[in-house]
Symmetry: C2
Subunit: 137 residues, 2 copies
Amino acid sequence: MQQKKEIINKLRSSNLRPTKQRILIAKKLFDRKKTFHFTAETLNQAVNKKGDIKISLATIYNTVEAFKKAGHIREILTNNSKSYYDTNIKSHHHFYDSESKKLTDIDYQDVILDKIPNPPKGKKIKDLEVVISLQNK
Amino acid sequence: MQQKKEIINKLRSSNLRPTKQRILIAKKLFDRKKTFHFTAETLNQAVNKKGDIKISLATIYNTVEAFKKAGHIREILTNNSKSYYDTNIKSHHHFYDSESKKLTDIDYQDVILDKIPNPPKGKKIKDLEVVISLQNK
DNA sequence: AATTCAGTTTATAATTATTCTAAACTGTAA
DNA sequence: TTACAGTTTAGAATAATTATAAACTGAATT
Ligand SMILES: [Mn+2]
Ligand SMILES: [Mn+2]
Ligand SMILES: [Zn+2]
Ligand SMILES: [Zn+2]
């Protein structure tokens, strides 16, 4: 459980002014036990559900982009037309259930990559993602 | 090199009438040595470059969807906002260069997955994709 | 060969997700 | 306090895709 002070420090340390909007969004994102997989839409719903203050959708997008740039969240690959984000910034993989449009974490050690190819010359690997799409049995 | 007759058979066998638009698109897609990675936009350019007939963008989208449903092409995961497709329907993986927005095939045997997790109960694995994002060294 | 009609194509409108704009607001350093 | 860069916001703009509905056409039937 992250205290307000910790959240403010997190924001400050990435050169983001701790506005009331960012603090509320950060609480929703980081003040939880489990990883949170979300889209701009679901975050907007989560944040604007309970009273508190009203945060505009533009701010949701701005903040998601700022948090992503700061490395506090990461974007995940899916087949969906919406962008998906993850509060778990450690290297790990995902199941994507196209029925429910929900992501589930796969522990890093549950996928063993024994061999990965060399990147083309002049390029280096930025990220490696494994996405396992699911369908009903 | 696929003959027109082969292409017509391919279309017929998936219950797609061999219209002149579909035949032209299929030629562009399948009558080539190497795998083709494309978006609706790049396919539209390729198809409408040379004289021949003019094919509307709506037909590009319709045909891509029809070919995908028929299993003649597959969609590939990327971070790009456009959908990417692949004429290589065998299981394989990709480099994605976010600078050039280009995909490159990774041979199936160049990624060795020694362990993959069990899907959640009631679900089975539809597909497993490895995407390696590249950045300049 | 002419007829028929479901399947297909097309121009265009609609939708959806996201980004842009520019005016109002606010956190904080002086 | 004041000043001002950074931030928020409503609304407009953009971009990719999908929907609509009228015209067209491949191919089966006569
Ligand atoms: Mn995506
Ligand atoms: Mn995509
Ligand atoms: Zn995750
Ligand atoms: Zn490929």
